[in-house]
Symmetry: C2
Subunit: 323 residues, 2 copies
């Protein structure tokens, strides 16, 4: 069973033809999204790369069951029209992305949130392989996520279930960009980590973070803080411990509510690896008393950058098969 | 399809023969659990009432597919041995309840958490009828709950999923009896409501709560506070508003994570009705920005005291059918 998976990111656009029975990528075309050119140019690029991937796969067009497009935001699942993609210029409101690709390529096309595509791929072919319940979290500019039960995404009303970054971990906490307060994302997103790094510098603390950015606060990134931690910097380690604690609280809630076999963590910030995993695991152990927490595996993603296209393709296959 | 549902409570024991295809109760035997007599006496009572219910139903024993026992606590789903029932004297550790009833009655017997049985019954035959995703919460001495997707309970590792009362809504919050901090249960259980009422009296505030208990702090109950609110007491209304806010935060998280069609609220404290529902709904509207919250119905339970036996019976039918 073959489908095409597309991963539309603010920075990179990825297209693959996938054997969704086994998660194998037959053809893979990717490059910069060049999102500044606007939706139409990106859609034309997406179409061209889909055509290229079909050619490279050696498959006939009608062997492709469906196309799944992972999008970094929200959409209407009934119409496959975009609501809002915060990481793309203009946000693409009302862009009929599904219909555009379907009519251009001639295969059934459906949208899926990119974090949920990631979790589906990891649950079926990656870190969660063989598990019944997998909850996933993507750490980046925002914190996304999803829930897979028995190999299927639980999507809920409007395909919105699994927005793990917008659970409230302190009802009196800081304002979140979503309009609520005290969401996990307000504590542990990439920008929240950067804010902690800048604050440490501004408070005059002795830290390698300052040296690595040669004093330029605008150059502080999560990667720089991880680099400082690896150099042995106590302040950077403290920041990652604190962020790991917040993530651990959020994951403790997911464990309490879903009792998953596996929690999988991905996204750019997850490259911090053990600097975050260790405080996450410790916090979950301390804060989960209703779940057999020793049986819950908390793991980093196993599939790398192809998880998005594999997940979107698998989802398209699953939906097409049911119709 | 007929099964027997048992609802083992700290106060009441209920047994019913249920047509689980339609949720109809054919025979119903209930009375005080008399839990002080200990597990063996309660098990003998349970056996006798099951036999009575079978006789009253007019069914032959082998028309009963299975027996489901809803228990107020945790158990091992592989062996149907009790772990801990906090509301029963001694807590029944290691009591092989499933095996005892199975060998005495001669029908396959399985345990299920009582709050999850409640949610299953409400999802399929009650407030959530026709919905795909239903999340439920029982408000009492503790806060229990469960999740039903497509008419089936999501149970997760060790049947522990859906412990909605132990999600953390403030990571710095008060100690919870589970060992964590800031759990919803620590803010909005029956005892937490009583504590707010006692505090108001001790602070010397003018409130009908004091008059209703004639100054006896030990007589303050959630029911008394609701009664005071109905009499127009401002302090009681403030307390229920505050508790409704906490519940609203917890339900906002459930809405964000599960995107349910219906949230159903039951348990003794839910008899406060609109005094809690109104602040709950307002808080969910203010705090959920990722889910089409106008489509989420937040409802009180529709089935009354029989929800426990109906849910336990339905669950037994579902499990037996799959074997």
């Amino acid at each position: 069973m073959f489908s095409i998976g597309v991963d539309l990111g603010g920075t990179n656009l990825r297209v693959a033809v996938v054997d969704t029975a086994v998660g194998h990528v037959l053809a893979y075309v990717h490059g910069p999204t060049q999102a500044a050119e606007g939706p139409l140019a990106v859609i034309e690029r997406m179409e061209a790369w889909i055509e290229q991937a079909i050619r490279e796969s050696g498959l006939a067009r009608d062997e492709i069951i469906a196309i799944g497009i992972g999008v970094p935001g929200s959409y209407d699942p009934a119409t496959n029209i975009i609501h809002f993609l915060p990481s793309l210029p203009t946000g693409w409101p009302s862009v009929p992305l599904g219909q555009e690709i379907e009519s251009r390529v001639g295969r059934p096309t459906m949208l899926i949130n990119d974090a949920r595509a990631f979790v589906l791929a990891e649950a079926v072919f990656g870190a969660g392989q063989g598990a019944d319940t997998v909850v996933g979290m993507t750490l980046g500019t925002g914190i996304g996520g999803g829930v897979v039960i028995g190999g299927r995404l639980h999507l809920g009303l409007g395909d919105t279930a699994g927005n793990v970054g917008h659970q409230i971990i302190d009802f009196n906490g800081p304002i979140c960009r979503c309009g609520s307060r005290g969401c996990l994302e307000a504590y542990a997103s990439g920008p929240a980590i950067v804010t902690l790094g800048i604050k440490a510098i501004q408070e005059g603390r002795t830290t390698a973070i300052r040296d690595l950015v040669t004093g330029d606060l605008n150059s502080v990134t999560p990667e720089v803080i991880v680099q400082a931690a690896e150099l042995g910097d106590a302040v950077a380690r403290e920041i990652l411990d604190e962020v790991g604690f917040y993530l651990g609280i959020g994951i403790a809630n997911l464990v309490t509510l879903f009792s998953p076999d596996v929690v999988v963590i991905g996204g750019g910030v997850s490259r911090a690896g053990d600097w975050l995993l260790q405080p996450i695991r410790e916090t979950v152990r301390q804060r989960c008393h209703m779940t057999p927490v020793d049986r819950v595996r908390i793991l980093l993603s196993a599939l790398g950058e192809e998880s998005g296209v594999v997940g979107a393709a698998l989802w398209a296959s699953q939906v097409a098969q049911e119709r």
